[in-house]
């Protein structure tokens, strides 16, 4: 494999709490090839967003520290890059869109003004040239009547429209990597489908890599090529999307997939994983999923399992003995 566009290696991030530092994500590694779309899945609190924010170094410096790891973007370690280099990368190389389009736009600036900010920053565009590009970008994200919409304030637009504006801002400088942090969670289902379709088309047109963060397995299944499953701050499984859905190996992934409601199912109750995700301050010996795992044995409690290669492209953080058991289940 050629060297990846983005490579996160053994990243650990800690948050400050009253009693000291707790580990929010631990030993997270993942690669993202140019043009690839990787889905990052997990429950709330599993560390998906923390991972994403680390890439752009957006954590509050006083309450967060990156205790170990490397984040290599085209071979450059972002964690040790100077501030000016980081500002250049943000927006022009790596862009990000957020979950809540209602609060991601500054209420006192018109759409054109906000979008011009990025253009001014990275491409030195201003005035009529910037405006022309803004209208072009709004058209690109299929906002009808773009020239008129450009002068609107955010509160004139619906949630779906605002998310389109956010996407337009994100792709303004043709970034190589787009991080989409739950881009459709705050939108209703029909708009979700439109936004995902838009993202898919843009990805193809601009040949961007996309890191899609979601807890919606349906969205991931349709959009991503490879999936990373996170649980309680750790990567528990990584596999190409078809393989993950057809043959998940980690007990947590199996639970997740079993919990997806099926229209043709006769069952009156949805399948669930008993228990809840532990907080970062909870001390759990061994595997952090073991308290909820139906397959857990003594070996799971003894020590933190490491990532095991299951096949060429699939790996899981589970002791080989249990993996053998789970394959029997699957």
């Amino acid at each position: 494999m050629s060297s990846p566009l983005l490579s996160i290696q053994n990243l650990s991030v800690q948050f400050r709490v009253d009693t000291g530092w707790v580990t929010a994500i631990d030993d997270v590694s993942l690669d993202l090839a140019a043009g690839e779309c990787v889905g990052l899945v997990g429950e709330s609190g599993s560390g998906k967003s923390v991972t994403a924010l680390s890439i752009l170094r957006l954590h509050e410096r006083t309450t967060t520290r990156i205790s170990s790891g490397l984040i290599l973007y085209q071979g450059q370690d972002l964690l040790r890059a100077p501030g000016s280099a980081m500002r250049r990368i943000r927006g022009s190389e790596i862009a990000m869109i957020f979950q809540d389009p209602m609060s991601s736009l500054n209420p006192v600036l018109t759409i054109a003004d906000q979008m011009s900010e990025t253009l001014r920053q990275h491409q030195g565009l201003a005035g009529a040239a910037a405006r022309k590009r803004v209208v072009e970008l709004l058209g690109l994200v299929r906002i009808p009547d773009a020239a008129r919409r450009a002068d609107d304030y955010p509160h004139h637009l619906s949630g779906g429209m605002r998310q389109r504006v956010m996407i337009a801002m994100a792709i303004a400088c043709k970034p190589r990597l787009l991080i989409a942090d739950e881009p459709t969670t705050a939108l209703d289902v029909t708009i979700q489908a439109q936004i995902m379709e838009l993202l898919r088309d843009l990805r193809r047109e601009l040949s961007m890599s996309v890191m899609l963060i979601s807890h919606d397995l349906g969205v991931i299944a349709e959009f991503a090529q490879r999936v990373i499953v996170m649980y309680a701050g750790r990567v528990v499984e990584g596999a190409p999307v078809a393989q993950l859905f057809r043959r998940p190996v980690h007990p947590y992934t199996m639970g997740l997939i079993a919990a997806v409601p099926k229209l043709d199912s006769e069952a009156s109750r949805l399948a669930t994983i008993p228990g809840r995700i532990p907080g970062p301050q909870e001390v759990i010996r061994g595997c952090r999923f073991s308290p909820r795992c139906t397959l857990a044995r003594d070996c799971c409690l003894a020590e933190q399992p490491s990532m095991q290669l299951v096949s060429d492209h699939q790996s899981a953080r589970c002791p080989p003995r249990i993996l053998a058991l789970s394959e029997g289940h699957g």
Binding site: R90, G139, I143, M161
Partner: protein, 295 residues
């Protein structure tokens, strides 16, 4: 590259009836219009004072002292035979100037200090304790001290009142900035590569502006009242320059014989304070996002 078919599909997402201008909403707001008209009238009176009343405000005509209000002297005359109407007009210049400059200068300073406190968390403690220390003095007492130390000049009144009103403004801006800096759009601006300074100027300050603006209309009124009080005590604007405060101060010894000398500048002060309060309340209503409604 735009796909026309999909474009029209997306049209369904658009909410937004066309905008109602903020301006139009303000024009329909009754207390805003009342306040605005009064303050506009007072400002015009101050600016056009020499045209409205061609008399010299300091010209003494001892034969004409203590004339009650009449068609010749609308507000009567004082103990030196000076026309009170003319003096109130010229006094408006000083009072409004002091009010306006205190409002602008303390507004600027509070915005800068408040944002620094909110952005540079290490300085926050020091800055806010200093503000607390200033706030622990009653504003008028602090202003009295500073004005007395600087000497009786218009500029020292402005400086004294500015210092006295900065702490409250700083608190307001800091509180607003602390909220705004956590907003997603600030993070979105960071993501797009904006520098901290750019974020402060483009995103944080404008979003703190509405709460500061409301506060400043009240500061305008307070500063005018405080100028009157300082001049009344004698550390403010010195005679023979007329300010509303020192007209009242000079008239107080003759309050029983010549009530008009105190009454009219008093009414002017009350009117100005009232209109600014109406303006402030109206702006507060308008800028409260919960009241924006509609769109």
């Amino acid at each position: 590259m735009t796909d026309v078919g999909l474009g029209s599909l997306a049209a369904a997402e658009i909410a937004a009836p066309r905008r109602h201008g903020t301006l139009r909403r303000l024009l329909r707001h009754r207390s805003f219009m009342i306040g605005f008209s009064i303050i506009l009238l007072l400002t015009l009176a101050a600016v056009l004072a020499p045209l409205i009343s061609p008399i010299d405000p300091s010209a003494m005509k001892v034969r004409l002292r203590f004339r009650p209000p009449s068609s010749a002297f609308w507000f009567g005359t004082d103990m030196f035979g000076r026309d009170v109407f003319t003096r109130v007009l010229y006094g408006a210049r000083i009072s409004l100037f002091v009010g306006f400059s205190v409002c602008v200068v303390s507004g600027l300073c509070s915005a800068i200090i408040g944002v620094i406190a909110a952005q540079f968390r290490r300085l926050d403690g020091a800055i806010m304790r200093l503000m607390d220390a200033l706030m622990s003095f009653p504003a008028i007492l602090l202003a009295l001290g500073i004005a007395a130390a600087l000497g009786p000049r218009v500029s020292s009144v402005v400086i004294a009142l500015t210092v006295a009103y900065i702490p409250a403004g700083v608190r307001i801006v800091r509180a607003a900035a602390l909220t705004v800096r956590e907003m997603d759009y600030v993070q979105a601006a960071q993501v797009s590569g904006a520098s901290s300074l750019r974020i402060v100027i483009r995103h944080i300050l404008p979003n703190c502006f509405s709460s500061l603006l409301v506060h400043l209309t009240f500061i305008f009124a307070y500063a005018m009242l405080a100028e009157a009080a300082l001049s009344f005590i004698g550390v403010g604007i010195q005679p023979p320059i007329a300010s509303w405060g020192n007209i009242i101060a000079e008239g107080r010894d003759y309050a029983t014989e010549a009530w008009w000398v105190m009454l009219f500048p008093g009414i002017a002060i009350s009117l100005a304070a009232l209109s600014l309060n109406l303006l402030g309340d109206a702006l507060g209503d308008m800028l409260d996002p919960r009241q924006k409604g509609g769109a």
